[in-house]
Amino acid sequence: MTHFNEIGSYCLVLAFSLSLGQALVVAAGQTKPLRGLARYAEGLSLAAALAIVISFGVLIYAFIRSDFSVVNVFEHSHTDKPLLYKISGAWGSHEGSMLLWCTILLVFGAMITLRGGGLPAGLKHKALGVQGLLGAAFVGFTLFSSNPLWRLADAPLQGQSLNPALQDPALAFHPPMLYLGYVGLSVVFSFAVAALIEGRLDRAWARWIRPWVLLAWSFLTIGITLGAFWAYYELGWGGWWAWDPVENASFMPWLAATALLHSAIVMEKRDALKAWTVFLAILAFTFSMMGAFLVRSGLLTSVHAFAVDPQRGILLATILLMTSGAGFTLFAVRAPTLSPGGLFAPVSREATLVLNNLLLSAALCSVFLGTLYPILMQALFNKTMSVGAPYYLAVFGPIMIAALAIVPISGLMAWKRADLKGVLQRLMASFAVAALAAAIGAILYRGPTLLSQAEYMVGLLTGFWLILGSLRTLMQHLDFRLNRVGKALRRLPAVPLATWGMLFAHIGLGVFVLGAVVESHQKLSVMQSVAIGDTLKLGQYNLTFKSLYKQAGPNYDAQGGAFEITDAKGKLVCEPRPQRRFYPASNQVQSKVALCFTPLDDLYIVMAEPQMAADGPNAGKASWQVRFFYNPWVRLIFLGPLLMALGGVFSLCDRRLRLGIVKKAVKA
């Protein structure tokens, strides 16, 4: 059976050669005598994708079989692991995740060939050439420095198992989703570079890249949300976002892709913002690669970071600098020759979208600075410093609030020239209701300082404003009148899917903002050492430690506490059972959080290791450090981004994107 692994290794080499070939035929095809060669890039991209899929399939198969003759399987798997975590172990390490990255990269390259029927041949082949070059760089890096199919001479009988914190459904799917997003942006990058080489950037180009941006953005949204959800309920600290450098590394491409999504719309509709859109296209993938680099460089210490290896970090940094450096250089040379677009009136939808791009860029800049400043200070001046949540709240927060505030206005504005007064009048009612709700919320909330009270109110206002303003946009589309509700409802199916997509994305954003604001301001927590029979009080809830129990899992032994939560009236709310799981394979203990589902709020209980109290009321008795959180509206934080990603999918399904209308228009 072990010959399978050799097929995988062989296919990896093959994928590298084919990708290199793909880039070379396109390069050769740029000379006159060899012009005909470029079209072979199409076939090569398909072959390369097939080869890498086989290679990745072999790795997964080795994990399923627990073939410990493969070093990567030996280091990250164990025969006792449930099947899902055996499979997800294939991308649980640096090497395996690099192969996943390459697989997605080459498959997307093949998608350019398969889905690019309507593209002009020159652009398509140049994009394939760039994609081939990226493929060769990343597959080469994987093959020569991080080969996950590397073998051991003598296969051990048992593996070292995967870090228990990674054995979780959310984290099994987090990397593939995130990488589909990261690497989806590579296609946009390739198209940008190809168009710059061609020297042709028009509205059609903006339309071609839009589905790719949407696809990448939707996956990135889901990937980041899964990561946040995992951090929330697996790490046991009660939070979901720590502005940790690695989290930021995934957030930066998202912000760039969000800006790109909006500027591409302006370019498509108004033939403006060309240079800016192409700049963002290069920037977005640069941030993707930077994310991949930061996680692996050893520059950061984080729960999400891979094992440290400076040499691989330097190699990745070289790939990053060369590819995006080439992209930006090309941009600098070609951008002045682009026909100047950017023609629009100050009060128009495109103007609001430009403002949105400006604010998103500033927000992106703050995340970028906050992430890299400590690293730079350390490297240049040997000074240690920290940048954390308070910085982002102070700098990123207001900029983002401003960006969100213009969303409903933008949605109601017309292209070319709009009537600001009319738009504001139509939004009056939405604003009034949002303000009222925010005011009620702020009165009911007693913040520790006036500032936090104000923050809370502005946050609620923003969330409600986004939701109600988006609904107002929908009413506009339906020509909604109170005395003709039926007529308006009958127009529902006529609303284009792209519009639904926009509405879902913006409403999702509002839902997320509400969740984040309420959770961060009203969260309660208590941490205390409790013995059996003790009761912890938090807000209106009482948590009683009833008994201990033991449970044998598939690859762990759990010791857990049976708790009972009652509300102020003594009514039973739920019976949470947090656990401490001991994984003998890796000799590690993992705390398992217990969550009580109330419709919007979470009650969150996590147990630490037992200790014997030396004195105090529990002297001589075993007690457990228990953390008990009340996280109001936390569900919305995860629901909101899912709505946003759903919006992205709706937009993707819009007929206008699927049909080559632009192609027809050009022909006509």
């Binding site: 042709r200 950037l201 028009d202 509205r203 600290w237 009660g238 939070g239 720590a242 450098p245 033939d271 210490t301 023609l343 629009f344 009136a345 430009v354 403002l355 400006l358 860029s361 500033a362 800049c365 703050s366 400043y373 000074k383 240690t384 410093m385 920290s386 940048v387 954390g388 949540a389 308070p390 910085y391 102070a394 700098v395 990123f396 900029i399 401003a402 209701v433 009222l436 709700a437 009620i440 009911l444 007693r446 520790p448 300082t449 936090s452 509700v485 309420v518 009203q522 309660l524 941490m527 807000g539 209106q540 919007l600 630490a608 450090q625 953390r627 009340y630 509206w633 228009a665 050009v666």
Partner: protein, 156 residues
């Protein structure tokens, strides 16, 4: 007999929305916590647990985080201001402990660049828009230019 005026759809919808909103506000969480404790908790989020991986002392259950929390609570009880407590932490542990970087010369870019981008970008947009609007009438899009070229060729 006087008929009672039926509530309009609009007003009942508004009322419905309001009730809905009220329902969702988690009332039970508004039990008054002491101002001091709330202040302490706000401060905890600004202080890095010096022995943990990028965690604030509010989130960490490490021993040292507990000690630091206790110290800050004691400081607040002793009547110190937030600024004094931050200063004391800085003197003791250096910049590393503060998740809110101090506003110093070397941190100037960190604190001001994002806002500078908004400012400069805004000014740029505002000053350039006039000539942009004026030129709108005359510019052709790429497609139009292509068509024009084809027409011109036909004429030749």
């Amino acid at each position: 007999m006087k008929r009672e005026q039926a509530p309009t759809l609009y007003s009942s919808a508004c009322r419905g929305v309001l009730w809905l909103l009220l329902l969702f506000i988690p009332l039970h969480a508004f039990a008054a916590t002491e101002k001091d404790e709330a202040r302490a908790r706000l401060l905890f989020t600004e202080v890095r647990c010096v022995q943990c991986q990028s965690e604030s002392i509010a989130d960490s259950d490490a021993q040292i985080a507990g000690d630091m929390r206790r110290e800050i609570r004691a400081d607040i009880a002793a009547g110190r201001t937030d600024a004094e407590i931050r200063k004391e932490l800085f003197d003791h542990y250096g910049d590393y402990v503060l998740f809110r970087p101090r506003l110093t010369l070397s941190n100037l870019i960190l604190w001001t660049l994002p806002l500078l981008i908004v400012g400069v970008g805004g000014v740029f947009m505002f000053t350039r828009r006039k000539n942009l609007v004026e030129s709108t009438q005359y510019a052709l899009s790429d497609d139009e230019e292509n068509k024009l070229r084809i027409i011109m060729k036909k004429r030749d």
